[in-house]
C-alpha cells in the first residue's frame, strides 16, 4: 500500500480553482517535489496535506489513516506531520532549545525523553552549541536549521518543506540541499518538498510532480521528467530548452520523422500523424556545433561562464541558445552548423 | 412572642378585612391615655387633656384633636356636615358625628361605636379605629384602664434625587439621621438636567427607583403631576405653609425658596448695579454672564418668569448683542464673576451668600424690577416602595427645627413662618417678587427652552 495517498484533491476559492483533481501515491521514504511557478498550487497542496487548509474535494490518507475526506477532517495538530515554513517561523520569544523542544513539550514527553531526542536532533542539524541563543542572534541558515530540527524532533510520519532554501544564498542553498537529502536517507524520512527551482528539485527528488495553474502536468523521476517531458510547459520549465516549429513528415510504429524549422529532418519517438504541426523542443546541451561556412546559422553572441560558454544562434528571425564546453572557439558572426542529438515533440 | 404574633395577625386581619394597608406616622410614638383621666403621655411627656377619655360600648373614645395631633395628622371639621377629617400623609379618614359609617380614602367602613359630641361640647372619636387606621398598635390594660397606642419607628431606605448643592443636602441628611436613625437616605445629587434625564430614563425603562425628588425647577413637579407619576399626600407640616408653597392638588410642597440675585465683582465694578437693565449696559459688554436655560432648571424658571413680567425675548436678544457669556448653571456664573472673567451675572442667592462669606470679592443685589423667588419643591414618586420613610423625610424638612437650620446655614429661605433671622439679614418680605404662575410656566417650559436655544445656540 502506498505510504501517502492523495485522491482527487481539489481546492476552490469561489470560482478560482487553486488545485485541480490532484492524484498521487507516495511510497515510504521517498522525497517527492511539487515543482512549478508561483500560483501553480504547489503550496496549497502542501498546506492541504498539512491540514492548514481544508480541501474542497478529495481524500488524504497516510499509512492507511484517512486525514481528510468528505466526512472527516483531522486538525493539523493531530496529524503528526512536521513542517518547515518558507519564513522558518522560528518563535522570536523562545530560545533555540525551547523552539525545537516545543512539540515534545506539547506532547508532554518526560524530561529524560526530551533530553534524549533533543541531543540527537541538535546533533543532526549541528546546532549543539547554540541551544540557549535567541533567534535574532542566529544567521538565516541557522534559523532554518532550527525550523528543520523542530519539525524532525517529533519523529513525524511525513516531513513537509515549503521552499525551505529559497531565502538562502546559492552556496548555502546547495549545502542545505545535500544536508536535507542526507538526513532523509539517514532517517528514511518521507518528504514532500515544494519549490519553484527545478535544479533543486532535480537534485533532491525521487519523484517530481510538475504543476501549472492547479493542474498536474507530469509525474515522474528526474530522468523521466528531464528526458521525456510530456508537454511544452514541462519541457520549458525543466532544464533549458529551445522551441522551434515543425511538421511531422512521416510516422510509423512510434517513430516519426519531423522537419524542424531551420534545422532539418530529425527522427524521434512519437505517435503523431503525418502533416501534424508540432512544437519541437531542443535542449541547449543537446546541440553540437561545427564550423560551416554555407550554413544560414550564425553565432549571435557568445558568453564565457567559466565552466561553459553560452551561445545565441540566429536561424533567420528565430534564435536558439546552446551551451557548449568552455573552450569552444566560436565567435560572434561565425557561421555554424548544428547537430541535434535529441528532440522532444509536442502537439501544438 | 406569641402575643406579638397574635397582635400582628389581628392587625393584619383588620387590614385585610378593611381593605387597606396600615400607614405609620413619622417617628416612633407611644401614646398613653387612661379612661377618666385628663393626664396623658406622649413619648413619656405629660400632656393635659381638656376632656378625659370615656368608654362606650366597650370602646374607648378620646378627644378628637388629641389623638390626631399626637400623630401629626391634619384635622378638619365641617360644622355643616358634622364631619371630622383626619389627613395624615396619604390617608384620608372621615368620620361623621353620630354615624357608625366612616370613610377611609373613599372606602366605606363600619365602626363599633359612633363618634359623638359630649355635653361638655367636646368631640370624641374611637381611639382604636383611628389608631389602627394609621397603622398603630393598640393595647388595652383592663386593670389600669389604660390604652397604649404605639407607632413603631420607621425603618428602610429611600432614594432621594436632588439638584441642591451636595454640601447642603449632606448636612440635612446628617440632621435627619439624629431624628430618624432607622431611615437611610440614599442621595443622588447631580445638576437638574442630569437628574431629570436619569429620571426620564428610569420612567421610560420601566423601573423607577427614585422615591423622593427635589430639583431647582418647579415646573418639573407640575409636569410630573400631569404625567401621573406622583403620589398625593398631606404632610402635617403643610398646615403651616402659605398657599403659594403648596400644590393645589396636594402632590408637591415647597420646603424652601431660592432667589435669583444679581451678583457682581466688588473689585472691578464701581457702580453697584440695580437691576436686570444694568446687564445691558455697554460698559459691561462681553462681561455679563447667565446660565443656560436649556441645561439649568434655575434659569429655565428665571427666563420663564421674566417673560411673565414684562421682559420679552428682545431683552434676551439685547443681552446676546451685549456679548453675554452662557454657562451651564448658577454656580458657574458665580465663579466667573468671582474670578473677574465677567463683571456681573445672575445666580442663586445661596451661592452668592456662601461665596461672599468665604471671602470671594463678590456681592449681590435683588433686582429692582423684581426677583424670581423660586419654590424648591419636593415630591414623592408614585412607584415608591417606602412611603413611610418618604413621608418622614418630608415631615422632617418641613419641621420648624429643620427650617431654622436651613435658614441658619444659608441653604435656602425657609417657607415656614416664625423663623429667627440673623441680625443684619434682609427681611424676605421686603424683597420685591416678580409675579409668577408656575402652572403656566410649566406648560411653556419646553417652548421657552427651544426659543432660548435658538437665540443663544447659534452664534
Amino acid at each position: 500500500m502506498p505510504y501517502i495517498e492523495l485522491r482527487n484533491l481539489t481546492k476552490k476559492y469561489g470560482r478560482v480553482t487553486a488545485v485541480q483533481a490532484f492524484d498521487l501515491d507516495i511510497d515510504e521514504s521517498r522525497l517527492v517535489s511539487l515543482l512549478g511557478p508561483s500560483g501553480c498550487g504547489k503550496t496549497t497542496t502542501l498546506r492541504m496535506i498539512a491540514g492548514l487548509i481544508e480541501p474542497t474535494l478529495g481524500e488524504i490518507s497516510i499509512r492507511g489513516r484517512i486525514l481528510s475526506s468528505d466526512s472527516i477532517f483531522v486538525p493539523p495538530e493531530k496529524r503528526n506531520i512536521g513542517m518547515v515554513f518558507q519564513s522558518y517561523a522560528v518563535w522570536p520569544h523562545m530560545n533555540v532549545f525551547n523552539n525545537i523542544a516545543y512539540p515534545l513539550k506539547v506532547q508532554k514527553k518526560s524530561r529524560g525523553e526530551i533530553k534524549g531526542r533533543m541531543d540527537r536532533v541538535l546533533d543532526l542539524v549541528k546546532l549543539k552549541d547554540c541551544s540557549s541563543r535567541m533567534p535574532h542572534e542566529l544567521s538565516g541558515g541557522q534559523q532554518q536549521r532550527v525550523a528543520l530540527a523542530r519539525a524532525l524532533v517529533m519523529e513525524p510520519m511525513v516531513l513537509l518543506l515549503d521552499e525551505p532554501v529559497s531565502n538562502l544564498d546559492a552556496k548555502l542553498r546547495e549545502e542545505m540541499c545535500y544536508e536535507i537529502k542526507d538526513l532523509q536517507r539517514r532517517l528514511s524520512m518521507t518528504i514532500i518538498y515544494v519549490t519553484h527551482d527545478q535544479s533543486e528539485a532535480m537534485a533532491m527528488s525521487d519523484v517530481i510532480v510538475v504543476m501549472k495553474e492547479g493542474v498536474v502536468q507530469q509525474i515522474g523521476n528526474p530522468r523521466e521528467i528531464y528526458n521525456q517531458p510530456k508537454n511544452r510547459f514541462v519541457a520549458d520549465f525543466i532544464g533549458q530548452t529551445n522551441f522551434l516549429p515543425g511538421i511531422v513528415k512521416s510516422g510509423k510504429d512510434g517513430r516519426c520523422c519531423v522537419e524542424v524549422h531551420g534545422i532539418g529532418d530529425m527522427e524521434c519517438f512519437c505517435s503523431l500523424q503525418e502533416g501534424t504541426h508540432v512544437t519541437v523542443g531542443i535542449r541547449y546541451m543537446d546541440i553540437e556545433l561545427f564550423h560551416s561556412p554555407d550554413s544560414c546559422i550564425t553565432v549571435g553572441s557568445a558568453t564565457f561562464r567559466g565552466d561553459k560558454t553560452d551561445y545565441i544562434l540566429k536561424l533567420g528571425e528565430r534564435s536558439i541558445r546552446t551551451t557548449q564546453p568552455a573552450d569552444g572557439e566560436y565567435k560572434e558572426g561565425d557561421k555554424v552548423g548544428v547537430k541535434v542529438k535529441y528532440i522532444s515533440v509536442f502537439k501544438e | 412572642m406569641k402575643k406579638a404574633v397574635v397582635m400582628l395577625l389581628v392587625v393584619s386581619l383588620f387590614a385585610v378585612i378593611l381593605g387597606f394597608t396600615p400607614v405609620r406616622a413619622a417617628g416612633g410614638i407611644v401614646v398613653q391615655i387612661t379612661v377618666g383621666s385628663t393626664k396623658a403621655y406622649i413619648n413619656s411627656k405629660v400632656v393635659v387633656l381638656d376632656q378625659p377619655p370615656i368608654i362606650e360600648n366597650g370602646r374607648t373614645l378620646v378627644p378628637v384633636r388629641f389623638i390626631g395631633e399626637a400623630f401629626g395628622a391634619t384635622i378638619g371639621w365641617d360644622p355643616v356636615k358634622k364631619t371630622v377629617s383626619y389627613v395624615l400623609e396619604d390617608k384620608n379618614i372621615v368620620l361623621t358625628i353620630g354615624s357608625i359609617t366612616a370613610m377611609v380614602n373613599g372606602v366605606k367602613t363600619t365602626l363599633d361605636v359612633a363618634p359623638k359630641i359630649l355635653p361638655t361640647g367636646r368631640t370624641v372619636v374611637p381611639v382604636r379605629f383611628i389608631s389602627e387606621s394609621i397603622g398603630a398598635k393598640v393595647d388595652w390594660n383592663s386593670t389600669t384602664r389604660m390604652v397604649t397606642v404605639t407607632v413603631a419607628p420607621i425603618t428602610g431606605t429611600i432614594n432621594y434625587y436632588t439638584s441642591m448643592p451636595e454640601v447642603n443636602i449632606t448636612a440635612l441628611i446628617e440632621e435627619f439621621k439624629k431624628v430618624q436613625p432607622g431611615i437611610k437616605v440614599n442621595l443622588y445629587r447631580a445638576a437638574t438636567g442630569t437628574v431629570l434625564a436619569k429620571l426620564n430614563a428610569e420612567i421610560q425603562g420601566g423601573n423607577v427607583v427614585v422615591d423622593v425628588l427635589s430639583v431647582a425647577e418647579p415646573s418639573t413637579s407640575i409636569l410630573l403631576r400631569e404625567q401621573g407619576q406622583l403620589l398625593k399626600f398631606t404632610p402635617s407640616g403643610a398646615k403651616n405653609l402659605a398657599e403659594q408653597y403648596k400644590d393645589k392638588d396636594g402632590y408637591f410642597y415647597a420646603f424652601g425658596v431660592t432667589d435669583m440675585v444679581i451678583i457682581y465683582n466688588t473689585q472691578l465694578v464701581k457702580d453697584k448695579p440695580t437691576g436686570y437693565s444694568d446687564m445691558l449696559k455697554p460698559e459691561y459688554k462681553g462681561k455679563v454672564c447667565i446660565g443656560d436655560a436649556a441645561s439649568s432648571g434655575a434659569f429655565t424658571h428665571l427666563v420663564g418668569t421674566m417673560l411673565q413680567n414684562g421682559f420679552g425675548w428682545d431683552y434676551f436678544q439685547k443681552l446676546k448683542a451685549n456679548g453675554v457669556v452662557v454657562v451651564p448653571g448658577p454656580s458657574d456664573v458665580a465663579q466667573k464673576v468671582a474670578t473677574g472673567e465677567v463683571l456681573i451675572g445672575i445666580t442663586q442667592d445661596s451661592t452668592a451668600k456662601q461665596m461672599k462669606e468665604s471671602g470671594s470679592p463678590v456681592d449681590y443685589i435683588y433686582p429692582a424690577e423684581g426677583t424670581d423667588i423660586k419654590n424648591c419643591n419636593i415630591e414623592i414618586l408614585k412607584s415608591t416602595k417606602n412611603k413611610d420613610a418618604a413621608f418622614a423625610w418630608i415631615e422632617f424638612l418641613l419641621s420648624k427645627e429643620t427650617q431654622q437650620f436651613i435658614l441658619d446655614n444659608k441653604i435656602m429661605t425657609p417657607v415656614v413662618p416664625g423663623m429667627k433671622y440673623p441680625a443684619n439679614s434682609i427681611d424676605p418680605s421686603t424683597i420685591k417678587a416678580m409675579k409668577l404662575d408656575d402652572e403656566l410656566l410649566a406648560t411653556q417650559s419646553a417652548d421657552t427652552i427651544q426659543k432660548f436655544s435658538q437665540i443663544f445656540g447659534g452664534a
Partner: protein, 558 residues
Amino acid sequence: MKKGIRPEVWVLVFLILGLTVIVIYPLWQIVSRAFSYNGMLSLESIRQTWGDPLNQLALTRSLTVSGFGTLFSVLLGSLLAWIVTRTDIPHVRLVKTLLITPFLIPPFVGAIAWLQLLGPVGYLNKLLMWMTGSGEPLFIIYGPVGIILVMTFFSYPTVFLIMCAALEKMDATLEEAAFMSAAGKWNVLKDITVPIMAPAIGSAALLVFSHDMANFGIPAILGMPRGYLVLTTKIFQAIQNFGLKNNFNFASALAMELLIMAITALFIQKIYTSKKQYTVVTGKSAHPRTMSMGTWKYILFGFAMVLFICTTLAPITAIVLSSIIKAVGLPPGPANWTFNNYSYVLLRSQTTIRALRNSLFLGVASATITTILGGLISYYSVRSKLRGHQVADFIGSLPYTIPGTVLGLAIILAWSKPIAGVTIYDTIWIILLAYVTNYLTLSIRTTSASFAQIHESLDEAARMSGASWWRTMVDVVIPLVKPGLIASWFLVFMPSFRELTLSILLWSVGNETIGVSVFNLSQGGQPQYASAMGVILIVILFTGNFLTRKLTKGNYGF
C-alpha cells in the same frame, strides 16, 4: 475525527452573541427611539432634528473640531512616537514616561485647568497681558481653536502609545533596505515607515476621531460660553428638556448621526487596511535601529520637554494653585493660601476613600475584562478566515462613538429592569458594564495593531508541532502580543479610573466614583474643593504609576 464544529467557531459564536447583548441591545434603545414619535414608528423625530439648521450647524462644528483635533493628535502623537523609537534623543525612557502623563489627568480637571491658564482671566493670559501691556486677553480659549487645542493635548497620548507599540515591532530590514538605497532619513520616513505604519495610524486616527466626536466635557466648558455648540452639547440639552414631548426621541435622533458617522468611519478604515498586507513580524527577527540625529537630537528633546510642560506641568500647576486658594476670585498670592480645602475633602474622607476604592475596582475590572474580550475579538478579526470574523470587531467598536451621556441613558433604558430576578441597576455592576461596553474599542484597536504584525506561520508552526488552537494561543500568540495586551490594559484602566460622564448617570449611594465626587464638589460655590480633590487624584495616579514601574522593572506602566 468527525468533521464537527471546531472550538474556534464556538468561541466566535459566543463572542458575537455576548456582544449583541451588551452592545446591540442598549444601542437598539437609541435607534428605536430615533425612529419613534409620540410612541409610534415615524420619521418625524429625525425630520425635526436633522432638519433644524441649528442642529446642522452643530454637526458641522462637531466634524470640524474633531477632524482637526484628530489630525493634530495623529501628527503630534506619531511624530513623538517616531522621535522616541527611531532617533537617538537623550533620556529616551524619561521622555516616553513624561509624554504619556496627560493620561493621568482627568480630562474634566484638565479642561478646567486650561481655562484657568488660558481663559480670559487665566494665569497665562494675565502674564502675557502684563508682558505685552495689552488690555485685552491675547489668547481666546473659548471657541473652536481652544476646543481643538485642548482635545489635541488630551488625545495625542493615545496615538503616541499605539504608534510606539507598532513602530517597535516593525521589521528593521524594511527601513534598512531604504537606507541602503541611498534614501535619507526624511525619505525613509515618508516613503517606507509612514506607509507601513498606515494601518496603525488608521487605527489610532479612528479611535481619536470617535472619541472627539463623542466628547462632551471639553466643548461644554470651552464652547458653550460663546455659543459654539456641537452635536454632543445639543444632545445633552435635548435630554434635559423634561417638558418637551419626545425629547428622548430627539436626543436619540441626533445620536443616530454620530452612530452613522462612526459606522462609516469604521468601514473606511476596514477597507483601507484590508487592501494591504502589513505583516512585519516574521520568524526572522531583528530589532529596529535608531538613527543618529546629530545636534538635532537636543532640539527634539527640548521639543518633547516643552510639550510635557504645556500638556502636563502647566495644567497641574493651575489646579494646584486653585486648590489652595481660600475663595474663588482672590489673587493667587501666598496671602490667600489655605489648606482648608484639603482638610475639608479629606475629612469627608469616608466618601473619598470609598470613591477611590470603587474607581480602583472599576478600573482594574474593566481593564482586565476589556483586554480579554478585546484580544479575542482582535484575534478573530485579524487572523481568522471564518465567515463573519470581523462582525465582533465591528459591533465592539460602536459604543465608543456615542457620547457618554447617550450611552449611559441607553444602558439605563436597557438594564434598569431586573433580568431573571437580578437587578444590576443602582449597583456597581451597571457602571462596570457601561465601562466595558464603552471602552471595548480601545482594546480592540490596540490589540489588533499587535496581532496584525505577527505572521501566521508562527501560529501554523505551533499547530504542526502538535499544539491545539488553544495551546497555540497560550504558548505562541499571547506572548507575542503581550506588549499590545499590556498597552491595552493601561489604555483602558486610565480612563475607567477617572471616568465621569457615564458614572454621573449610573452612580448610586456607595457606588460613587472619583470623577463623580470631584464633579459634585465643583457644583457648589466652592470649586476649590474640586480642585483639591483633583490634585489628590493626580497624586494618586502618578504614585500608582510610579510604583507599577518600579515593581515591574519598568516593563509595565507609563
